[in-house]
């Protein structure tokens, strides 16, 4: 299987650690990522209005490119995953959007949602398997209590994304466990970090993140992992910053597989 890879804007710049670690680990785990040529930014937010056609085009272009090359598209960033998978769902189920987008793109073969959009975590869970991953871990993250922070984009809406149970997700916890660490389950792991509000109302972000971190810390978490650069930013910049270090899940993966860059860490 070819794992076409869509890094997205942030992963090429501010969230390089998320990206680089993911690529290295994928090599080790035997599913090398093939970066899509000439990908464009997905738009960062899903265009909810059914008449927003132009806003869907870049995602469809990536989906079409992946279709032409095996039909699987892997994403890492929660927002990219969210946007691309939802647009793909629109293309498969909404005839009006499908027609308009295809009219615009004038493809040789119209696109109708054929590509399978996978999150990196799904590849780990469904293609590699936790047991095998655990066996490949050379530097188990012993005695570390890690809280998974899902946020909103990775899980909702559950009916479309279908990554995991929206209210009681387990995929990241299973991941943490496979790396040899102890997953910490806490109620606020799927509550919003404030997202793009950081630009407008920092104080509110501070409050939302504090609630999340306090809940995680009360449950015994010593660090948090996330898949989303925006969440990572908000969780790092707010709520008694530094109290609960936040890392990308791929960083932990690289560490456990023994392929972390020596200088490593957040930029």
């Amino acid at each position: 299987m070819i794992y076409n890879y869509y890094p997205g804007c942030t992963l090429s710049t501010k969230a390089k650690q998320l990206d680089m670690a993911a690529r290295r680990c994928a090599e080790v785990l035997g599913f090398p990522l093939v970066e899509l040529p000439e990908w464009q930014c997905c738009g960062a937010v899903y265009p909810m209005a059914p008449d927003a056609i132009a806003e869907r085009l870049s995602a469809v272009r990536a989906l079409v490119a992946a279709r032409e090359n095996g039909g699987v598209l892997v994403t890492l960033c929660s927002a990219c995953y969210h946007v691309i998978k939802r647009v793909n769902h629109d293309m498969a189920t909404n005839a009006e959007i499908r027609q308009k987008v295809n009219n615009y793109l004038q493809l040789e073969e119209p696109y109708a949602g054929e590509t399978r959009v996978l999150h990196y975590l799904e590849v780990l869970r469904d293609e590699i398997g936790w047991e095998k991953l655990a066996q490949l871990v050379s530097h188990p993250l012993k005695e570390r209590r890690v809280g998974a922070y899902y946020g909103c984009l990775l899980l909702r809406p559950g009916a479309v994304l279908a990554l995991d149970d929206v209210e009681s997700p387990t995929v990241m916890e299973a991941f943490i466990k496979a790396l040899g660490a102890e997953p910490v389950i806490y109620s606020m792991r799927n509550e919003c970090c404030g997202g793009y509000l950081a630009l407008k109302d920092k104080a509110q972000c501070e409050k939302l993140v504090s609630d999340i971190k306090n809940n995680a810390a009360s449950c015994g978490a010593q660090e948090l992992v996330t898949a989303c650069p925006l969440c990572a930013y908000n969780l790092t910049a707010n709520g008694a910053a530094g109290s609960l270090p936040t890392r990308y899940f791929t960083e932990l993966l690289a560490e456990a597989l023994g392929v972390a860059e020596s200088e490593g860490g957040a930029e």
Binding site: C9, T10, T13, G43, A44, C192, K200, L208, E267
Partner: protein, 129 residues
């Protein structure tokens, strides 16, 4: 000029593409909204106004600009309604009009250098056209 409430409601519903009539005013959306403490109209009230023919008041509301599109309301709505989509429709109806950007780039005083692009793109797209 009197606003055509009916037309406005139709416009909102077309953009929102969610069946607001299913709403039974249980208030779960408002209970779950992380921004509810800062909203002038809670999501259930927005649904109520829309269903009771007071859509024009919603264009005055600040609530859509507080909404984070986290979709907790949609996910936990027992009736399968998406208040998040209604909020988006209310934003779009306004920012799609010329010169109606809510967060002009020059109004932002300080961009921390470590702010991810994703955040900037998302924010400007939610508040501007």
């Amino acid at each position: 000029m009197a606003v055509d409430e009916k037309q406005l409601t139709e416009d909102i519903l077309r953009l929102a593409a969610t069946d607001v009539r299913r709403c039974m005013q249980c208030g779960r959306c408002s209970a779950n909204c992380p921004e509810g403490f800062k909203m002038d109209l809670l999501p259930h009230r927005v649904m109520w106004d829309l269903n009771s023919g007071h859509a024009s008041e919603l264009l005055e509301a600040d609530a859509p600009w507080q909404c984070l599109s986290c979709m907790a309301c949609e996910e936990r709505c027992p009736r399968g309604v998406s208040p998040a989509r209604v909020m988006e429709a209310l934003r779009l109806l306004q920012i799609r009009q010329q010169g109606n950007n809510k967060l002009p780039a020059e109004s932002v005083e300080h961009y921390p250098s470590d702010m991810p692009q994703q955040l900037l793109v998302a924010a400007f797209r939610k508040y501007n056209k």
